[in-house]
């Protein structure tokens, strides 16, 4: 209702100005719509989107999330009920999961790197670069693949403990956005060869490891249970080319 009134007011205002000026204003608005995401991305600005200016931002980001969910649905061939449950829980991003660690906040070593949640992006962090493919600021690509059908779904398994799973299962403490930020941070540092990082080449894959100053998660799985879920301060990332295969605390 309020939005309709605003639209009517805008139309009336346009009627009151000469046609030449109306055309210029419309062209300027279209130009802004097209350039705003590029300017934000290239120069790190935070220019508001037209949708947010007209108070429609919530709907736009909701649509994006719905799009991601539908994309994930179409690409998932063998997604089990646990994966879809995790996806549903993650949608809100704010719910506390049953098996999550006792502490509440993820503690990445440098939370300033890309930590700002951008509602225009997937999980507030990733940019869509192709059909069902999403790129992080550091250049990691999350695309279709894995048993779950999509790499994002696969790494989502590391947001919860799997106490019955044999061996170890690294669990990240935090939501998907914080996990993606931590992965990007670790990947950037390990690629540069910073102190506390390691790079291992393995049969077409590259394994990056990076330490964090504070715990980023805990050891889960059967082994973790036996050891009383000790905190973990390192992240291991497996990539092929620029495509992420998996990532987990260890």
């Amino acid at each position: 209702m309020v939005q309709k009134q605003r639209q009517d007011a805008a139309i009336n205002a346009l009627r009151m100005i000469p046609t030449k000026w109306a055309v210029i204003i419309v062209v300027a608005i279209i130009g802004y719509v097209l350039l705003q995401p590029q300017l934000n991305k290239r120069f790190g600005l935070s220019l508001p989107s037209v949708a947010s200016l007209v108070g429609d931002e919530k709907q736009t980001s909701q649509k994006k999330q719905e799009k991601l969910n539908s994309n994930e649905k179409t690409s998932t061939t063998n997604a089990d009920s646990n994966a879809s449950k995790a996806a549903t829980e993650e949608k809100s991003d704010k719910d506390d999961s049953v098996n999550k660690a006792p502490t509440s906040q993820p503690q990445v070593s440098d939370p300033t790197i890309g930590a700002e949640r951008d509602s225009e992006k997937i999980h507030g962090f990733l940019t869509e670069v192709g059909r069902n493919r999403f790129e992080s600021p550091a250049g990691l690509v999350y695309g279709p693949g894995s048993e779950e059908g999509h790499r994002l779904k696969h790494i989502e398994r590391h947001l919860e403990d799997q106490p019955k799973r044999p061996g170890s299962h690294g669990v990240f403490e935090g939501d998907m956005h914080a996990f993606l930020v931590a992965i990007d941070d670790a990947y950037s540092r390990a690629k540069r060869g910073d102190k506390g990082t390691k790079k291992i080449q393995d049969e077409g894959s590259t394994i990056y490891e990076a330490s964090f100053k504070k715990p980023i998660g805990f050891l889960g799985g059967q082994e973790g249970g036996r050891k009383r879920n000790p905190p973990l301060k390192q992240l291991r990332i497996v990539v092929r080319g620029k495509s992420l295969i998996t990532a987990f605390p260890f």
């Binding site: 799973r165 061996g167 497996v238 080319g241």
Partner: protein, 100 residues
């Protein structure tokens, strides 16, 4: 659903990534059943349950290919092995089982 379906059957923890389980993946193509070992985390592959011979993967591959049919390891011809298939492969002595 049988009780087998709710079990994870694996050979050992992955020596490459340390977090995955090396499980037996079955490929059925051209009426031929073949098995190979696949880490369910980092997708490292071996041709045998002693895990002596690695299957190379290409850096450009989003999904690694089955060493037998060259299709995606996550394709529709593929599934995790059940006990019967593991016995047929003669690999039963190499596996461990836990409830999922």
């Amino acid at each position: 659903m049988t009780s087998q379906d709710s079990k994870i059957i694996y050979v050992e923890s992955c020596p490459i990534c340390g977090d995955g389980l090396c499980r037996i993946r079955i490929c059925i193509s051209n009426q031929k059943v073949t098995g190979f070992i696949l880490c369910d985390e980092c997708e490292a592959m071996w041709t045998d349950p002693l895990m002596q011979e690695r299957v190379p993967t290409n850096v450009d591959e989003t999904d690694p290919q089955c060493p037998s049919c060259s299709q995606s390891i996550w394709g529709k011809n593929m599934h995790w092995a059940n006990i019967g298939e593991i016995c047929l492969l003669g690999w039963f002595d190499h596996v461990q089982m836990v409830d999922e």
